[in-house]
C-alpha cells in the first residue's frame, strides 16, 4: 500500500540550491506547517466574529424586512447596492492580473496572481450576497433566473438588473474555473508532498490525477490562454454591465456614456489597492518576501497610480460635460455633489482616489510598505465612497425638489458592511492556510533558467 502511506520523497535527498525546490518549499511550507503564525489566529478570530455579525444582521434583515436599513424613498438603493458595486469592483483585480497581464506577458504577475484570483472569488461572493438580501423577499432570488415556473412568466431580459445576474454569475463561474485550473498543478504538488492520507486524498481529489505530462501541459496551456483571452473581455463587461444599472436610467449623475470604461478603470484601481493591502501583510506573515518582492509591490503601485489617473480623468470628463451639456439638471447634480449636503463624501472620494495615489510618483514611496499599505486602505475607502456618492447624492436630489430626501444609514447598515469584510477575510485566511498561495508552477516557469538558450 505505498500509495496511501506517508512517504516523504524529500527525506535525505540533497536539495542543494535547486531553485525549483526552493519555490516549492517556500510556498508549500505555509500549508504544511503544524500551526499557522499567531497573527493568523488573531486575524481569524476577528474575521469569524465579523462573519457571525454578518449572518446575525442578515438574519435580522430577513426576519424583519428591508425597513431595518436606512433605505427610503427616494434613496431606495443605498448601502445594499453600494456594497455590491464595491465588492464586485474589488473582484476585478484578480482576473485582471491573471488574464490581462498574462496576455501582456507580464511575468511578474506569477507571484501575486493566485491570491489575487482567490481574492476575486471571495469578493464576488461578498458582492453576490447584497442583491440577494436587497430584493425584499430574499427567499425568491430564483425569480431572476429563466426557470419555467408556476406563474408561467419569464424574467425581463431588457432590464439591466437582469443582465447583472448573468454578468456576475458568469464572472463568478469563470473566475472560479480560472483559479481552479491554475491551481491544479499546485494541488498535485501538495498531494505529492502530503504526509497524511486525508491530505493526500483531499488534494489528490482536486488535483484530478495531474502528473505534469507534457502532452497534458500542452493542452493545459492552450486552455489557460483561451480562458485568459475570454476573461479579459469578461472583466470589462462585468463592471460595464454594473455601470449600465445606473447609466441606462435618466437620472442626472447616473446617465452618462463614459460610465462603462470609467467603472472598469475604477474597479481595477480598487481591486489593485485591495491586492496591495493584502499582499503587504501576507508576505510578512508567511515569509514570502522573496517571492512577492518589493519590485512587485512597486509595479502594483504603478498600476494603482495609472488607474487612479484614469478615474480622475472620468471625474473630470463628467464635470466638464455636465457643464458643456448646458443641461441644468446635470449641472445642479455635479455642483450638489461637490458643495451639497454630501460634499464630505465627495471630497473624501476625491482625496482618497485622486490625491493619495499621487505619492506614487516617487519611487521611494512606491517601495515603502507602510505607504503602500496606507494608500491601499485609503483607496478602498475612496472607492466605497465613490459608489456612495454616485448612488446617494443622485437619488437624494433629482428633478423635482418636492421629491428630495435624505439618507441616513442605520446601525444594521454599518454592521452588514463591516460583516461582509468578515466573510471576505475568513475565506481569505482559510485559503492562505490550506491552499497554494502562490502559483508555484508559473513562478518556476518564469525563472530565467527554465528556458532553452
Amino acid at each position: 500500500m505505498t500509495l496511501l502511506t506517508a512517504v516523504n520523497p524529500y527525506q535525505g535527498a540533497p536539495k542543494g540550491d535547486n531553485p525549483y525546490a526552493r519555490i516549492t518549499d517556500n510556498v508549500a511550507r505555509i500549508a504544511e506547517a503544524e500551526r499557522p503564525p499567531v497573527g493568523w489566529y488573531i486575524a481569524f478570530a476577528i474575521s469569524t466574529s465579523l462573519l457571525a455579525m454578518f449572518f446575525a444582521n442578515i438574519g435580522y434583515l430577513v426576519w424583519n424586512g428591508i425597513g431595518v436599513w436606512g433605505n427610503n424613498i427616494p434613496v431606495a438603493w443605498a448601502f445594499g447596492i453600494v456594497n455590491f458595486v464595491f465588492w464586485v469592483g474589488i473582484g476585478h483585480a484578480g482576473t485582471l492580473i491573471s488574464a490581462i497581464l498574462y496576455l501582456l506577458r507580464q511575468g511578474w504577475r506569477t507571484s501575486i496572481n493566485r491570491f489575487a484570483e482567490a481574492m476575486t472569488i471571495f469578493a464576488v461572493m461578498c458582492a453576490g450576497v447584497f442583491p440577494g438580501i436587497h430584493i425584499g423577499r430574499p427567499w425568491l432570488p430564483y425569480w431572476m433566473l429563466p426557470i419555467p415556473n408556476q406563474m408561467q412568466m419569464w424574467p425581463q431580459f431588457r432590464s439591466p438588473l437582469e443582465w447583472d445576474i448573468f454578468a456576475v454569475g458568469t464572472y463568478a463561474t469563470v473566475s472560479l474555473l480560472f483559479w481552479y485550473m491554475g491551481m491544479m498543478p499546485d494541488l498535485a504538488t501538495f498531494r505529492d508532498r502530503s504526509r497524511t492520507p486525508i491530505r493526500k486524498f483531499a488534494y489528490g481529489l482536486f488535483a484530478m490525477g495531474w502528473r505534469g505530462s507534457s502532452r497534458q501541459w500542452h493542452r493545459y496551456e492552450k486552455a489557460y490562454l483561451l480562458l485568459a483571452a475570454l476573461a479579459t473581455p469578461l472583466v470589462l463587461s462585468v463592471h460595464s454591465v454594473v455601470s449600465f444599472d445606473f447609466a441606462t436610467s435618466q437620472l442626472p449623475g447616473w446617465h452618462t456614456t463614459i460610465f462603462p470604461p470609467y467603472f472598469v478603470a475604477g474597479a481595477i484601481f480598487g481591486g489593485f489597492a485591495m491586492v496591495t493591502t493584502l499582499a503587504v501583510p501576507s508576505r510578512q506573515f508567511f515569509g514570502l518576501k522573496r517571492i512577492i518582492s518589493l519590485d512587485h509591490i512597486e509595479l502594483m503601485n504603478k498600476v494603482i497610480l495609472a488607474t487612479g489617473m484614469m478615474v480622475g480623468y472620468a471625474y473630470g470628463m463628467e464635470f466638464f460635460v455636465a457643464w458643456y451639456s448646458g443641461n441644468e439638471y446635470e449641472q445642479f447634480t455635479f455642483v450638489n455633489r461637490a458643495f451639497g449636503n454630501y460634499a464630505w463624501a465627495y471630497w473624501t472620494m476625491i482625496f482618497c482616489n485622486v490625491v493619495t495615489p499621487q505619492v506614487f510618483w516617487m519611487k521611494r514611496m512606491r517601495r515603502n510598505l507602510w505607504v503602500t499599505f496606507a494608500v491601499g486602505v485609503l483607496v478602498n475607502i475612496g472607492m466605497w465612497f465613490e459608489r456612495f456618492v454616485i448612488i446617494v447624492t443622485s437619488l437624494t436630489r433629482d428633478f423635482l425638489p418636492s421629491s428630495w430626501g435624505n439618507f441616513r444609514p442605520t446601525i444594521v447598515d454599518y454592521m452588514t458592511l463591516a460583516g461582509s469584510f468578515g466573510l471576505f477575510f475568513t475565506l481569505f485566511l482559510l485559503f492562505c492556510r490550506y491552499l497554494p498561495m502562490v502559483a508555484m508552477a508559473e513562478v518556476k516557469l518564469s525563472l530565467p533558467n527554465s528556458h532553452e538558450h
Binding site: 506577458r105 439591466p160 473581455p233 470589462l236 460595464s240 449600465f244 447609466a247 441606462t248 436610467s249 435618466q250 446617465h255 452618462t256 456614456t257 463614459i258 460610465f259 462603462p260 470604461p261 489617473m309 480623468y313 472620468a314 470628463m317 463628467e318 460635460v321 458643456y324 451639456s325 448646458g326 443641461n327 510618483w361 530565467p448 528556458h451 538558450h453
Partner: protein, 411 residues
C-alpha cells in the same frame, strides 16, 4: 523574456537599416500626387459656390483620418516608453517617424482653422453669433465654443504634439549615434508619464473641438475615448503596411513574424475595444432615450446613413473580429496586410459617419471631393514620413534592449 546577449544587435552599416534611394522616388511621387489631389479638391470645392461647405466637411473627414494616425503613433510611442516595452523596439522608430508629422498636421489644419477664424460658420455652427445667442442652451456654451478660445486650444494641442513628437524622435535618434546614453532613455521614460496624461487630455478635447462640436447641442462623455480607439487601430494598421512595404524592398528586416503577430494582436484588441466603446455609447443613449442625446443617432439611422451604420457594425467589428481572431492570420503577411488595409478603410468610413451627417442629412455620399481630399492628405503625409525617414536608421540601434526585441518570440 530572457535577454539574449550572445545575439548581435544590428550594426550601423547594415544595409537594411536605411531607406536610401528607394525613398526618393516615392517621396517625389507621393508629394506630387498629394499636391495635385489637394489642388483638385480645392478647385472642386471653390466651384461649388457653397462658401466652401462641402470642401471643409470632406477635408475634415480626411484630416481627422490622417490626424488619427499621427496621434495614434504619438500615443503608441509614449506608451512603449512608459511601460518599458521591449518587443516593440524594432518598430518604435517607425512610430516615432509617423508621430513626428504633428507640425505638418498643424499646417494642414489651417484650411479648417482659418475660415473659422474669419467667421465662416459652414463647418462649425457655433461660429455663428446669432445662433449662439438665440438658443437658450447654446448661449451657455459660448464661453467654450467661441473662435478665440478655439484657436488658442488648437494652438495648444498642435504645439504640444509637435514638441512632444519631435522630442521623442530627437532623443531616440541621438541615441543611435551614442549607444552609451542609457540615461537619455531613462529621462524620456520619466517624461512619458506626464506625457501620457497630456496625450489623454489633448486627444479628448481635440476630438470634442474638431468633431463633437460640429453639432454643438449634442454631447457624450465617452466621445474622446471613441476617437482614441480609432487612432490606435489606425496607427497599428499603418505600421504593419509600412513595415511590409519596407521589407519588400529589403529594408527593416529586423522585424520578424513575431512582431507582426503582436501588431496584429493590438489591431485585434483595439477593434474589440472600439466595438465596446461604440456599443456602450449607443446602448446607453438608445436605452435612456433622452431627446437631446438621441438626435445624434437619429441622424445616423435615417436615409442611407442607416446602411452606413449597419456597415460599420459588420465591417468595423464582426468581419475583422473573425478575420483577425486566428493566430495564423496575424502571422501571415498577406492576411495581416489585407486586414490592415481593411481597417484603415473602415476607419475612414467611421469618421465619415461621425462627421458627414452634419453636412448632409439623410443622404450619405462619397464623391470626387472626398476622394481627392483623402488621397491628397494621405499621400502628403506618407511623403513627409518617408522624407523624414531618409538618412535616419529605421531601427533605434542605440537602444541597449534591441537584441532582446529582435529575438522576441510569442509563447
Amino acid at each position: 523574456m530572457a535577454e539574449h546577449p550572445n545575439k548581435p544587435a544590428l550594426s550601423d552599416s547594415d544595409p537594411s537599416l536605411q531607406l536610401g534611394s528607394i525613398a526618393d522616388r516615392a517621396v517625389n511621387g507621393l508629394a506630387a500626387l498629394g499636391v495635385v489631389a489637394l489642388v483638385t479638391a480645392g478647385v472642386l470645392g471653390l466651384s461649388a459656390h457653397d462658401h466652401g461647405r462641402h470642401f471643409m466637411f470632406a477635408y475634415l473627414v480626411a484630416f481627422a483620418w490622417v490626424l488619427s494616425i499621427g496621434l495614434g503613433a504619438l500615443w503608441w510611442v509614449t506608451l512603449q516608453h512608459l511601460v518599458n516595452a521591449r518587443w516593440s523596439i524594432v518598430v518604435r522608430r517607425l512610430g516615432e517617424l509617423l508621430a513626428a508629422n504633428a507640425p505638418i498636421l498643424a499646417l494642414l489644419a489651417l484650411p479648417l482653422v482659418i475660415p473659422t477664424l474669419l467667421g465662416n460658420h459652414e463647418l462649425f455652427p457655433w461660429v455663428d453669433h446669432e445662433l449662439m445667442h438665440s438658443n437658450h442652451v447654446l448661449h451657455k456654451k459660448a464661453g467654450y465654443l467661441n473662435v478665440g478660445f478655439f484657436t488658442v486650444r488648437m494652438a495648444l494641442y498642435f504645439g504640444f504634439w509637435s514638441w512632444w513628437s519631435r522630442h521623442l524622435l530627437a532623443r531616440s535618434v541621438s541615441q543611435d549615434k551614442n549607444t552609451a546614453t542609457l540615461g537619455l532613455l531613462e529621462r524620456v521614460r520619466g517624461a512619458s508619464a506626464p506625457g501620457m496624461i497630456a496625450m489623454a487630455f489633448t486627444i479628448t478635447f481635440a476630438a470634442i473641438d474638431l468633431l463633437m462640436s460640429l453639432d454643438p447641442l449634442w454631447f457624450s462623455t465617452i466621445y474622446g475615448v471613441y476617437y482614441f480607439a480609432g487612432c490606435v487601430i489606425a496607427v497599428h494598421a499603418v505600421m504593419v503596411l509600412f513595415t511590409l512595404w519596407f521589407q519588400s524592398k529589403g529594408r527593416l528586416t529586423a522585424v520578424t513574424r513575431e512582431h507582426f503577430h503582436d501588431l496584429g494582436k493590438m489591431l485585434f484588441a483595439f477593434t474589440v475595444f472600439w466595438a465596446y466603446i461604440a456599443f456602450s455609447q449607443f446602448m446607453l443613449i438608445w436605452y435612456a432615450n433622452i431627446p437631446e442625446e438621441t438626435g445624434f443617432f437619429m441622424e445616423r439611422i435615417h436615409g442611407n446613413w442607416l446602411h452606413v451604420s449597419y456597415f460599420l457594425i459588420v465591417g468595423h467589428f464582426v468581419l475583422p473580429f473573425f478575420g483577425l481572431l486566428s493566430r495564423h492570420v496575424k502571422r501571415h503577411r498577406v492576411g495581416l496586410a489585407f486586414w490592415s488595409v481593411w481597417m484603415l478603410v473602415v476607419h475612414y468610413v467611421d469618421l465619415h459617419w461621425l462627421i458627414m451627417p452634419n453636412y448632409q442629412h439623410e443622404h450619405a455620399s462619397f464623391g470626387l471631393l472626398e476622394l481627392t481630399c483623402w488621397v491628397g492628405l494621405a499621400s502628403l503625409l506618407a511623403a513627409a514620413t518617408l522624407r523624414r525617414a531618409k538618412g535616419k536608421n529605421l531601427v533605434p540601434v542605440g537602444d541597449a534592449r534591441l537584441s532582446a526585441s529582435m529575438a522576441f518570440e510569442n509563447v
